[in-house]
C-alpha cells in the first residue's frame, strides 16, 4: 500500500478503500446468504453457484479485514473529531472494536461451517481455486457452528447498520466523521 501517513487529517487512501470494499463484501455476502438458503434443491445449480459466490465474498471480506488491521497497525488512525462528545467517541470505539472482531470471526466460522457440512461440497474461491476443508464432516458440530456463523453475521450487519447510522448522524450535524472516511 502507499506510504501516505494517517496524520491528524484523516485516513490513508488504502484504509479508506479497504473500509468500503469490506463494507461492500459484507453486504453482498449477507444478501446472497439470505437468498441462497431459500433456493430450493430443485434449483441445485443456482444454489451451488450462490453458495460459491457467498464463500468467495466471505473470503475476500476476511482478506480485506486482515489488510485493514495491518494498515491500522502500520499507519494508525486519525485523531478523533473534537466535535464528537467523549461518550459518543467511547461508544464508537467499542462498536468499531466489536466490528473488527466480527469481521474476522464471521468468515472464519463460515469457513468452518463449510468444512463441517455433511455433504463434502468443495469451496471454490473465485470459482476456480479449490480450498481445503479444515475438518471432516460432522453432524454434531455442523448445526452449532452454522448457527453461530449466522448469529455473528446478523450481529455484524446490525452493528454495521448502527455504525453507518451514527456516521450519517455525525454528518448531518456537520461533523467530519463520514467525510474523512469518504474522501479523506
Amino acid at each position: 500500500m502507499e506510504a501516505e501517513p494517517a496524520g491528524n487529517r484523516g485516513w490513508t487512501r488504502g484504509q479508506r478503500a479497504l473500509h468500503w470494499w469490506n463494507a461492500g463484501f459484507v453486504v453482498a455476502a449477507f444478501a446472497i446468504a439470505w437468498w441462497m438458503v431459500g433456493v430450493p434443491l430443485s434449483k441445485l445449480l443456482l444454489k451451488f453457484i450462490l453458495f460459491q459466490v457467498h464463500k468467495t465474498l466471505g473470503i475476500l471480506a476476511f482478506l480485506v479485514v486482515l489488510g485493514r488491521l495491518w494498515l491500522r497497525r502500520r499507519s494508525g488512525r486519525p485523531e478523533p473529531d473534537e466535535a464528537v462528545p467523549p461518550a459518543e467517541r467511547r461508544a464508537a470505539s467499542a462498536a468499531q472494536a466489536a466490528l473488527y472482531v466480527l469481521l474476522v470471526a464471521t468468515p472464519v466460522l463460515g469457513y468452518l461451517t463449510a468444512s463441517l457440512a455433511p455433504l463434502r461440497i468443495p469451496t471454490l474461491f473465485l470459482g476456480v481455486i479449490r480450498l481445503p476443508a479444515l475438518t471432516g464432516p460432522s453432524r454434531e458440530w455442523f448445526p452449532i457452528i452454522f448457527n453461530l456463523h449466522r448469529a455473528l453475521a446478523v450481529t455484524l450487519v446490525l452493528l454495521a447498520c448502527g455504525h453507518a447510522a451514527a456516521a450519517m448522524r455525525h454528518h448531518l450535524l456537520g461533523r467530519e466523521v463520514l467525510a474523512r472516511m469518504w474522501r479523506g
Binding site: L41, S42, L44, L45, F48, A117, P118, L119, R120, I121, P122, L124, P137, R139
Partner: protein, 201 residues
C-alpha cells in the same frame, strides 16, 4: 471341498453354472440376503467436481440356486426406496421426492436376475431387470466372491462385492440434469447365508 455335496456357495454356483444340471439328488439351495449384513450404496458425481453418496438401509432378498435347472438360478432383491440414507437430511428429502424416487408412490426398488455367468474363479456377471419408479430396464452387475465360510456348525455364508452403474434418466429421474450426474455408481456388499429352513432336498 470337504463335504459332498458342498453347501459352499462359490462351489455350488461354479458347479451349477459351469457344469449344468447336477445329479438328481441335488435340489434347491436358498441363500438369504439380509440388510443386517451388507450395504447397498450409490454415488453420483456433481458437476464433475465432487461426489455425493448414500445407501439403502432396508433391503432383503434371496439367491435360489437350482441345481437341477441351473438357468433358473435366481437372485431377487427388494429395496425399500424410502430407506435411502444420505449425510444431509435435505438431500434425503430431495431423493425421496417425486423428482427422484417418488418413494410415496413407488415404495420398492426391485432387482431380479435373468442369468448369471461366471467370468473368473470368483467373478460373476449377473444380468437382470432393475425396476425403479415402476420402470424396468436391463441391468448387469459384476459380483466378486470375497469371503466364504462353510463352518461345521452354523450357516454357510458368502460375502460378495457387487458393482455396477446405471443411468438415472432411464428411470425418469431427470431432475437437476445440469448439476447431478446421470451416471449412478453402485457399490454393494452383501452377505448370502444359506437359509437353514429351506435348503437341500
Amino acid at each position: 471341498m470337504t463335504r459332498v455335496p458342498s453347501r459352499a456357495l462359490g462351489i455350488v454356483l461354479a458347479a451349477v453354472l459351469a457344469l449344468g444340471p447336477a445329479p438328481a439328488s441335488a435340489g434347491l439351495l436358498d441363500y438369504l440376503i439380509s440388510q443386517h449384513y451388507g450395504t447397498i450404496g450409490f454415488s453420483v458425481s456433481q458437476l464433475g467436481l465432487f461426489t455425493v453418496d448414500g445407501r439403502f438401509l432396508r433391503f432383503a432378498g434371496r439367491l435360489a440356486v437350482n441345481e437341477q435347472h441351473p438357468t433358473e438360478t435366481r437372485i431377487d432383491v427388494t429395496i425399500a426406496a424410502g430407506s435411502a440414507s444420505m449425510a444431509s437430511p435435505d438431500a434425503v428429502a430431495m431423493l425421496l421426492s417425486p423428482a427422484y424416487f417418488d418413494a410415496a408412490r413407488y415404495p420398492e426398488i426391485h432387482f431380479v436376475s435373468s442369468s448369471i455367468t461366471q467370468t473368473g474363479s470368483k467373478q460373476f456377471v449377473i444380468h437382470g431387470i432393475l425396476t425403479i419408479r415402476g420402470i424396468a430396464h436391463p441391468q448387469s452387475l459384476e459380483a466378486t466372491l470375497v469371503r466364504e465360510q462353510d463352518p461345521p456348525a452354523g450357516p454357510v455364508i458368502a460375502d460378495f462385492k457387487v458393482t455396477g452403474s446405471l443411468e438415472r434418466s432411464l428411470y425418469g429421474m431427470t431432475a437437476n440434469e445440469n448439476f447431478v450426474g446421470n451416471k449412478v455408481d453402485l457399490a454393494i456388499f452383501i452377505r448370502l447365508s444359506l437359509d437353514p429352513s429351506a435348503h437341500g432336498s
